[in-house]
Symmetry: C2
Subunit: 529 residues, 2 copies
């Protein structure tokens, strides 16, 4: 069997140049990639940057003091590395108010004292001093149940939600993508992005929820507590986002005012309680006990103001009008320190810039970093930037037929984003752009050994590359190992520094720096769909 094999091999070697010549060969500067890897893996500052963004300045709720401090830190840091044109890129419209937690504690006083694991929702109003009040559980599954509570909620803390079931954790919190999962992605076709559609949720639960909120407000409840949802793991971990502003089910979304807006209607103070502690109160009440709580909740608002991103550049040389962008959102939710969502992405992008500046590069195209605000409220920062800089879709119903582009859009090459937690890159979502596959395949080659190699035609949604993709500009999000992102840290009180994995972030920064460099140096801009 040896001879035929040898013959086949010889044939393969002889015909290889012919086969390769038939494709476009993407040349890469492997010496430069090696230098980047060396700096990124051996002299990394990514964890120090991450700690500054999270431990010192986090959480970074859009337009809040934490966000401002982190933005200042990012600007100063970029300037200290010699990055140019570093600006606070202000959006064209007011975002709304900043918000800060000044003091918070929730305890059960009776029937048994215990300090409760809980966190206020963002933009919740506070209460005056430390209030003591009975807790009333709204055991409501249909409209008729509402009557039971008439005249019974005045001065009470209302337990608004049903208990959250808690189950033993037979699956690990943290995972890495398996070869079989990656293979499915590699073989998948384009799945249409669903950003354009709006799935309306069933009207009945919405109606009931509104009726419950209206009852609480009409009856004069002093605060509302809810069980942390079962969407993430429990174990005292809290999933917390913005305060609910109740609207009747028929109110169109365009008429609803978010909690961070200055003209928001008056809402009740709102606190999320760990499933285990909330469920305990429910069981106490169901056993006929009177539950008495003590709540201290002091919050502070800053005046409504436009949102802002942080932008900076390593200017290009012969092609300096053309732009390669890297970015991540700087804003976060507030019950942790916004580490995996998304100080991790911001730290990786800053570190990628540091690596390039440390190596003293002079790229052909301009390399621009963007740290976005308002991602958590709907990609607001990147949408605003793209609209002002590159163009917009005039009719949202027709994705690509109604785009009005700016002259700058002509000069745009590519945008690379990281916002799927702190896990290492395993490849990239092509967003249906088949033309670009061969280029990324070549760029990933130096990182194949560390597991980054998968190209999938699939779209992925939910973050800032969509703002570019929406007007047909090449914008991409990397495929990342999940680690504990979907299970434990996303929008939770456990989204903290210790959940980031150093080796993963170092590698990601090396890949971003390499990709930005290669995009800035190749002969052509990156191909579009």
């Amino acid at each position: 069997m040896k001879k035929p094999f040898t013959s086949l091999l010889t044939l393969a070697v002889l015909t290889a140049p012919l086969l390769l010549a038939a494709q476009t060969v993407e040349k890469i500067d492997t010496a430069m990639v090696s230098k980047i890897k060396n700096e990124g893996m051996n002299r990394s500052q990514v964890m120090d940057i991450l700690s500054m963004l999270t431990d010192i300045h986090g959480p970074r709720l859009t337009n809040s003091p934490g966000y401002k401090n982190a933005a200042n830190y990012a600007k100063t840091t970029l300037e200290s590395w010699g990055v140019q044109n570093v600006v606070f890129d202000t959006w064209e419209e007011d975002f709304g108010r900043g918000w800060q937690l000044k003091k918070f504690s929730l305890s059960s006083l009776a029937p048994a004292y215990f300090p409760m694991i809980a966190y206020p929702k963002a933009w919740s109003p506070g209460v005056k001093g430390a209030i003591q009040a009975e807790a009333v559980y709204l055991d409501i599954s249909k409209e008729e149940d509402l009557k039971k509570y008439e005249g019974k909620l005045k001065g009470k803390i209302v337990m608004f939600s049903l208990p959250t079931p808690v189950k033993p954790g037979f699956k690990p919190d943290a995972t890495r993508l398996s070869d079989s999962t990656l293979l499915v992605m590699a073989n998948a076709g384009v799945i249409e992005a669903q950003g354009g559609r709006r799935f309306s949720s069933p009207q009945e639960p919405q109606r009931l929820a509104y009726a419950k909120w209206a009852l609480c407000q009409k009856e004069g409840a002093v605060a509302v507590i809810e069980a942390s949802s079962s969407f993430r793991l429990e174990d005292g971990t809290l999933t917390v986002a913005a305060a609910t502003v109740p609207y009747p089910a028929e109110t169109p979304f365009s008429k609803r005012v978010a909690a961070y807006k200055e003209n928001v209607p008056k809402i009740l103070p709102q606190v999320v309680v760990s499933a285990e502690h909330y469920n305990r109160l429910v069981r106490q009440i169901q056993k006929g006990q009177t539950v008495k709580l003590e709540l201290a909740l002091e919050t502070a608002f800053t005046p409504s103001a436009p949102g802002y991103n942080v932008i900076g550049e390593i200017p290009g040389t012969d092609l300096k009008d053309e732009v390669v962008m890297i970015g991540a959102h700087l804003d976060s939710w507030h019950s942790g320190t916004g580490t995996t969502d998304n100080a991790a992405g911001s730290a990786v992008m800053l570190e990628a810039i540091r690596i390039l500046k440390t190596l003293g590069v002079s790229p052909r195209r301009t390399i621009r970093i963007a740290l976005w605000g308002g991602e958590e409220q709907g990609l607001l920062g990147s949408k605003s930037y793209v609209k002002r800089t590159y163009g917009e879709r005039l009719d949202k119903a027709y994705p690509y037929d109604s785009i009005k582009m700016t002259p700058a859009a002509e000069k745009f090459s590519v945008y690379l984003n990281m916002d799927n937690g702190s896990g290492r890159f395993r490849g990239i979502y092509l967003q249906g752009n088949e033309n670009i596959g061969n280029i990324f395949r070549a760029w990933f080659k130096p990182f194949n050994k560390v597991g980054a190699s998968t190209l999938t035609l699939q779209n992925t949604g939910g973050t800032d590359h969509l703002s570019f993709d929406a007007i047909g500009l090449p914008g991409f999000q990397f495929i990342q190992d999940p680690l504990e992102y979907g299970t434990r840290t996303h929008h939770t009180s456990m989204d903290v520094y210790d959940k980031a994995v150093e080796g993963d972030l170092k590698q990601n920064a090396s890949i971003v720096a390499s990709f930005a460099w290669l995009a800035a140096m190749r002969d052509e801009k990156m191909p579009r769909k």
Copy 2:
């Protein structure tokens, strides 16, 4: 191939009675076991009992008001079922003081405000009002480092421990025993119990720890905080036990006074902080920030008093002087509600008694339930009971040569214990008692289908069956599925009701009720080693 098989089968059927006759056949009343299973699985009250012990009366720190309320509940409940001779069985010696948390909160005020996940150690003293103080991190790895902190701790909150490393959870929190693990146990020989030996820990770390405590006290620190250990999972889960009473390394254990004793030396207020939050403070300080904390900690002590167990009986008939015991410890640690350690065991034992009383049984032997106190401080309740009732080892160095038994010991049959979390029974540890294997094997038969069948000669330690085993009385602990016991709930703030699994507890109660019944009805008492 069909014929030889049939022949072999025929042979097996014909010879089976002969083979069985050669062994001692343990007869079991399968009709009664079926009734027990029916009551235990279809009309269970175990979760309601568990909720009373945990949600309403927990936590149940020995001699504390929670323990007292739970003991009262157990007594009243047993009496309501018609159980007789229900008593608080008082130990011969004072246990010490009860302790209760009256008010607690810990927040970081600077450089960033955040409410901290933390819990005071049991029997910690409090502080007056809400104190605000700078946090000083004791970055000490050797004696010389102590000097750095001289004159610097007065009025400060001292961060006593090193940071606790946090790693992603690639292993599941919850597991069940696999067949391969059970097989290893089934095939294992006796492993000598290690209760008699005392492993001395290395002197050097002990010396340094004492020097650190002495420094904090001498310099006038106001409180000490420590990172939750890495022994359990993190994610904000706290492992919390009793306050440390520092002693020089050379002080013999017999001369050391525990935190719950009236004559304890003055100690500092002590609080355990989640790894993630503690580590954040360390990083802030290492970045040159001044960390300012606010601590409110009000604790209450009850006067020193003897400890007590709860004991009750279903009196026997023709063999009423002989006793079958079932039991579990009622006391718990304090940062959760002591659910898996060990309200689960207590609820299972109470439910087993309820099942038997509901079925209106008249057992031959007396069936006695014991709910122990002081297990967490060294099996104190069961040791005291066994000593007063059955006898003691006069010389601890010689396990069985120096035992002085009471006449009642003659009449004792067996003690069955549950205290390895809330997981279902998979078999039983024989404690090296080979004579008893065939009996348990027969008793498990009706429960083989639900996974309970493994007999292991191995000893297991750490709980109240040891008090019986120590003087040669048959005392056993079941083999239990771990669930999240070793990983998440044991001695932690997440030892709460929602961590118990209803199906597992129902099954355990059915098994305990069956075993107690079968032990009470068989011709002979259970064989001893």
